[in-house]
């Protein structure tokens, strides 16, 4: 590896990066997927996203006012949480659901721990898991894409984990998002555009997403179908919330390991837990639980992958 770190005497040049700038750029990179979601599922998806964002930002502001801390609602982090939470909801949820989820995300997932940088779990996923446990009926009712009405149907992932072959859905459909699913997870193309932008700008590294996706693919190939080593690995990668989770939620700075070695362990762990939940667990989708469980393990990973001090 090329050593990019050159320590020299002053004057040092300060790079114009800040938490605020990075957060807003992550929001920007998520926009294509939002547009795709609204196009695929109709205007209702738009209002779910907007309500999620408004609820998240105002909860953050109110709680910071109430506890007399610095108001930081314009740093984009609360907005990002609300946006990611809304992306993880089915498009036909009642309008109070994104609001309840965002309030829970910010209040319990983030502010209770002391705000940005202190939270041990990804706030958006905390909100999603809360909604999943509280109102499973709304969280598992998916409408058909491009029909703009509420004809419910099973997601491709639900069919996959039950061991059925995918009917009427091609890989191209999966890639472009022509399938039932959550608002922000369906259009892989749009997600990849945002992900490539973040990777090129260096805001996320490839270590977590790549190891996460490859591990999930390998395990789906081995265990995904009845004779071993015949599983539909590509369909498993393209369906569910894997791409959204791997690039935008597992890579959260606060809740993922610091070193590259730790990030690789984190990614492999996420992939393992995701496939275990998908194939043998009670829920069809395991991405959110996998990332949350690995969030909990992150301090331990950090402890055991601490880089050796040079010369010791």
């Amino acid at each position: 590896m090329r050593n990019n770190l050159l320590v020299s005497t002053s004057p040092h040049i300060h790079k114009k990066e800040s938490v605020k700038r990075i957060m807003w750029l992550v929001v920007l990179s998520l926009l294509p997927s939002g547009f795709a979601g609204v196009f695929i599922f109709g205007g209702r998806a738009f209002w779910v996203i907007i309500l999620g964002i408004i609820a998240a930002v105002s909860t953050e502001g109110i709680l910071q006012l109430a506890t007399k801390r610095r108001i930081s609602i314009f740093d984009g982090s609360a907005l990002l949480t609300g946006l990611l939470l809304a992306y993880n909801l089915p498009p036909d949820v009642p309008f109070w659901l994104p609001i309840a989820g965002s309030v829970f995300s910010i209040a319990i997932g983030k502010q209770v721990f002391g705000g940005l940088g202190q939270n041990i779990f990804n706030p958006a996923l905390v909100g999603r898991v809360f909604l999943m446990a509280s109102w499973p009926k709304y969280m598992t009712t998916f409408s058909r894409p491009l029909s703009y009405d509420t004809i419910t149907s099973a997601t491709p992932l639900a069919a996959l984990t039950e061991g059925k072959a995918l009917e009427n859905i091609s890989y191209l459909d999966l890639f472009l998002g022509n399938r039932p699913g959550c608002i922000g997870e369906v259009c892989i193309l749009a997600l990849l555009i945002g992900a490539v932008f973040l990777l090129l700008k260096g805001y996320i590294s490839w270590h977590i997403p790549l190891t996460y996706i490859i591990t999930t693919g390998i395990f789906a190939f081995v265990f995904g179908a009845k004779p071993l080593f015949t599983g539909p690995w590509l369909a498993n990668i393209l369906s569910g919330g894997l791409i959204l989770g791997a690039f935008f939620m597992a890579t959260d700075y606060v809740t993922s390991p610091l070193t590259y070695k730790g990030q690789i362990i984190f990614g492999i762990g996420c992939g393992l837990i995701t496939t275990v939940i998908r194939f043998w667990g009670g829920y069809p989708e395991g991405v959110s639980y996998a990332i949350l469980i690995m969030n909990a393990v992150t301090p331990m990973i950090d402890r055991y992958t601490r880089p050796r001090i040079y010369g010791s």
Binding site: W96, I108, V112, F130, A133, S134, W135, P136, Y138
Partner: protein, 197 residues
Amino acid sequence: MKKLTQEFSKGITVLNPTFGLILGLCPTLAVSTSLFNAVGMGVAATFVLVFSNLIISLLRNLIPARIRLPAYIVIIATFVTICELAIKAYLPDLGKSLGIFIPLIVVNCIIMARAEAFACRNRVLPSIFDGLGMGLGFTLGISIIAFIRELSGSGSIAGFGLFKGNELILVMILAPGALLTMGLLIALTRLLGITRK
């Protein structure tokens, strides 16, 4: 007399077992899905606590220090058995819904803690008041948690249905709801200065 009321009231406020000492968590988390169960559990634990404190305090100079814990457990188990048989005879519904958690009062850490920390080194009357206060504090704590959980999770208060539908927060009557309610209430009592900061 002033000292006795102090022994009594400290268990409800400063040293509240649920929010201050954070003891006896198993029954607190497991039984607090409904107010009826919670009050039943609290009263049963209070009964055992008062009488075990009484007997241990009486015998405090006779029990050899090296085998004091087994001795305490025998005394506590006696009263738990009395309590369990009484509940099964007179309140069979409550007995059924509390299930294993009545026999488990034997190893409830509040009772062990009060025996070890208070009853074995204090006279009989303070020990009784300490047991009463701690028991009431525990009953109060578990009942507040149960009230919140039952109302938000099943839409009822002590079994009387108030509202129903899909909008009830299902997670509140599951295990995470117990931990969430408990954590927020501990934070609240510390913020208000009821328990120590």
